[in-house]
Symmetry: C2
Subunit: 215 residues, 2 copies
C-alpha cells in the first residue's frame, strides 16, 4: 500500500492527500512532526527516505519520492483512471503553471523553515513576518486569479467543471492564508473556488483538522 | 516559430534555453529587461502574455506559458524525439524531484524580487543578503547531491549518461551561485556535473553571456 509521510498542517502534504483522495487511492499516513524535538523531518530515519528533510514523501514499494509536484505527476501516471491534468497540451501547461505559482513562487517563501530563519537569524519581529507572509501570498494569489481570468475560467473549479492538480494546490494555500489572517476579499474567484471544493467529501477528508496527527 | 521571452541572466529562462537547445528546437528570443524602467516584466504588454509578470514565458502559436517547469513539461511532450525525462515512472519522479529542489526550494528564495524586497522593505544590508542567499543555496545543493548519492549517480550528468531536465535546472543555478561567490567545494559531484555539461555546445549556446541581450 502507498505510504504518505506528512504532517497534518503541511500544505504540501495536504496537496498530495487531495490528489490521493480524488483518485481514490488507499494509503497509510505516517506523521513526521515538524516541530517536536527540533523537527522529525531532520531525523536520519526520515532523511533516508527523503534526503531533503522536508515533507511530504511518498513511498510506493521501492520507490521513494519527495517534492509534492513530483508526487502529483507520479500519481497522475500511476493512477491514470481519474486524471488531474486535462488532455490537451496547452491546457496541461496552463494547469501546471497554476500549480507552480503556488508550489514555486508562493509556498516556499512562506513555509516554516523560512519563517524560522527570519526570526532566528534576522531578528525579524512577528509583525514583520506577517508583512512578509502576506506580501508573497498577495502576489501569488493575484497572479493565479489573473491567469484564471485570462483563460476565462469562472469556476466552479480552477479548470471549470474538471477538478485538477491546480485545485489540489490552491485549496491548501488558502487554508494556510486563513491561518495567517490573510484577507481573501481581494481574490473573489479563488475564494469561490475554495468554497466549492470544500463542499466535496474528498477535499473534506484531506483537510488538516481531519488527519490522525492533528492536534 | 517558438518565441522565448526571457532575460540573459534569468536562471529560469536559462533552463528553458538549455532544454530547447538539447531538443534542437529553433526559437526566437525576446528580451524582457528585468531592471530597466523598474522592470519590463511588469509592463502591461508582457503581463498580457504572462500575468504573473515573471520571466520566462514561451509562446507557441496561440499557447502562452509561464513558469519554467511547466514550459519544460510542455516541450517534453511537444518535442518528444529527444526526451529529457527517463521512461520509467520512478526515474521520472527522481528527475522531477531534483528539478523541484532547484525550482521550488532554492531559486524562488534567492531571485531578484526577493533580494529587492529584503533590501527595500526590511533594510537588510548587503552582507546579510549574501548570508540569506548562501543559506538557501547550501541547503538546496546539499539535498540535490544527497539525492544523487542515494540513487548511486556518479555523473557525468544528473542521470548518469542521459541528459535530463535536472541538468537544465542545475547548471543555471550553479551559474547563479558563482555570480554570488558561493563556494562550490562542498558539492563536488555537482561541480563535476557542471563542468561536464558546460563542455557541450548546447549548454554553451545557452549560457547568459552568449545571449543577444547580454550586457
Amino acid at each position: 500500500m502507498i505510504k504518505l509521510y506528512g504532517y497534518w498542517r503541511s500544505t504540501a502534504a495536504y496537496r498530495v492527500r487531495i490528489a490521493l483522495n480524488l483518485k481514490q487511492v488507499s494509503y497509510s499516513q505516517h506523521s513526521v512532526h515538524l516541530v517536536k524535538d527540533g523537527g522529525e523531518q531532520h531525523s536520519p530515519g526520515y532523511r533516508g527516505i527523503n534526503p531533503q528533510g522536508l515533507v511530504p514523501a511518498l513511498v510506493d514499494g521501492n520507490t521513494q519520492i519527495g517534492q509534492s509536484l513530483a508526487i502529483l505527476e507520479y500519481l497522475e501516471e500511476r493512477y491514470s483512471k481519474t486524471p488531474l491534468l486535462p488532455s490537451k497540451l496547452a491546457d496541461k501547461a496552463f494547469i501546471r503553471q497554476l500549480c507552480q505559482i503556488i508550489a514555486c513562487d508562493t509556498h516556499p517563501l512562506n513555509n516554516l523553515r523560512v519563517l524560522q530563519f527570519l526570526s532566528n537569524d534576522f531578528n525579524i519581529k512577528d509583525s514583520d513576518k506577517t508583512k512578509w507572509y502576506h506580501h508573497w501570498l498577495a502576489l501569488g494569489f493575484a497572479a493565479f486569479e489573473a491567469l484564471l481570468k485570462k483563460q476565462a475560467i469562472n469556476g466552479p473549479y480552477c479548470f471549470g467543471t474538471e477538478l485538477t492538480m491546480a485545485d489540489a494546490c490552491l485549496i491548501p494555500q488558502i487554508y494556510n492564508a486563513n491561518r495567517f489572517d490573510y484577507p481573501m476579499e481581494n481574490h473573489p474567484l479563488l475564494a469561490a473556488i475554495n468554497e466549492k471544493c470544500l463542499k466535496l467529501t474528498r477535499f473534506q477528508d484531506a483537510i488538516p483538522e481531519n488527519q490522525p496527527d492533528a492536534v
